[in-house]
């Protein structure tokens, strides 16, 4: 009796972005920017530089939100019916910007306090809770 195997699932298709700018271009740019921010967070030896990396990552996330809001939500040329669903991504981006401001203020204050109390530059050297 010949062994019958189930058919293989079709190979996933790769949708290469064209020369004209579309959603994928924005997403790819944001992915690269996010990777650079993560690289900065992992490798920098100064806490302020780590904060700069976090800002890069937040901006990458924001580009994603706005790009999705622009390309994947229904728009209307006329009439105002669809407007309410269009700008949700931009609202989220605004909230992210506000949170980034909070994060920068608190982060810089923590770094200042660290310098005062421990005199430490490198976040790897902050190990008062570690024995």
């Amino acid at each position: 009796m010949p062994l019958s195997l189930p058919p293989l699932p079709p190979a996933p298709e790769i949708y290469l972005p064209g020369i004209h700018v579309g959603l994928s271009h924005y997403l790819l740019l944001s992915a690269i920017l996010f990777g650079m921010g993560l690289f900065a967070v992992i490798t920098r030896r100064h806490a302020v530089a780590v904060l700069l990396g976090i800002e890069l990552m937040l901006n990458a996330a924001n580009i994603n939100l706005v790009a999705f809001s622009h390309y994947l939500s229904p728009h209307s040329n006329f009439g105002e019916m669809l407007y309410n669903t269009v700008l949700d991504g931009q609202v989220f981006a605004l909230i992210v910007i506000a949170l980034a401001a909070c994060e920068a203020a608190v982060g810089l204050a923590i770094i200042l306090a660290l310098y005062r109390n421990l005199g430490v530059v490198n976040p790897d050297e902050v190990q008062s809770l570690k024995w």
């Binding site: 992915a31 992992i42 490798t43 920098r44 981006a93 949170l99």
Partner: protein, 175 residues
């Protein structure tokens, strides 16, 4: 119409180049001051991308808050720390291999999943300029109706963060 599309493409590639080059400066500059200054064109480029995507209010807010407030705050902190810490603020790099592997894998996974996904727009997007006047009003309405709770929550978070930052950064009183 085609001229507009080509202009759009050209603007995107130009801005993307600026963003990536200045991000390289942010992650490799030796001095913290230079890294913080390299963040400026990067944030301005992101603001320009918002403009391309039709977010005119976001463009203004990005310039006001990020470029005007956060970067200045960071520069201010850097200058303040330069007085406290001896020997200047050098930010060398460490764990280069781990950073390369980690960030590369993260970025690669995201990019592969983007390339394997087919995005289909629901309707044809309009030109960004047609929303120019309405953008602010619509976002304001959204903030006061559908997203009222997040709006209030973010206000409280801002207040708490402000108080917390003051308490953390304040000099301890001498005993």
């Amino acid at each position: 119409m085609t001229a507009e599309i080509w202009f759009n493409d050209f603007a995107f590639y130009l801005i993307a180049g600026i963003i990536l080059l200045s991000a390289l400066g942010v992650i490799f500059a030796r001095r913290v001051m230079h890294a913080a200054l390299c963040l400026l064109p990067c944030l301005l480029g992101v603001a320009a991308l918002y403009g391309l995507l039709g977010g005119h209010l976001l463009l203004a807010i990005q310039i006001l808050v990020y470029v005007g407030a956060i970067t200045v705050l960071i520069l201010f902190a850097v200058m303040m720390l330069q007085r406290i810490v001896r020997g200047g603020l050098l930010a060398g790099s460490q764990h280069l291999l781990a950073g390369l592997v980690g960030a590369g894998m993260m970025s690669g996974i995201i990019m592969i999943s983007i390339l394997l996904t087919q995005f289909r727009p629901l309707l044809r997007p309009t030109q960004p300029s047609q929303f120019a006047g309405d953008n602010v009003r619509l976002i304001g309405e959204l903030f006061l109706t559908k997203y009222l709770l997040p709006f209030e929550a973010i206000s409280v978070v801002l207040l708490v963060a402000m108080v917390g930052a003051i308490i953390l950064a304040r000099k301890e009183p001498e005993e």
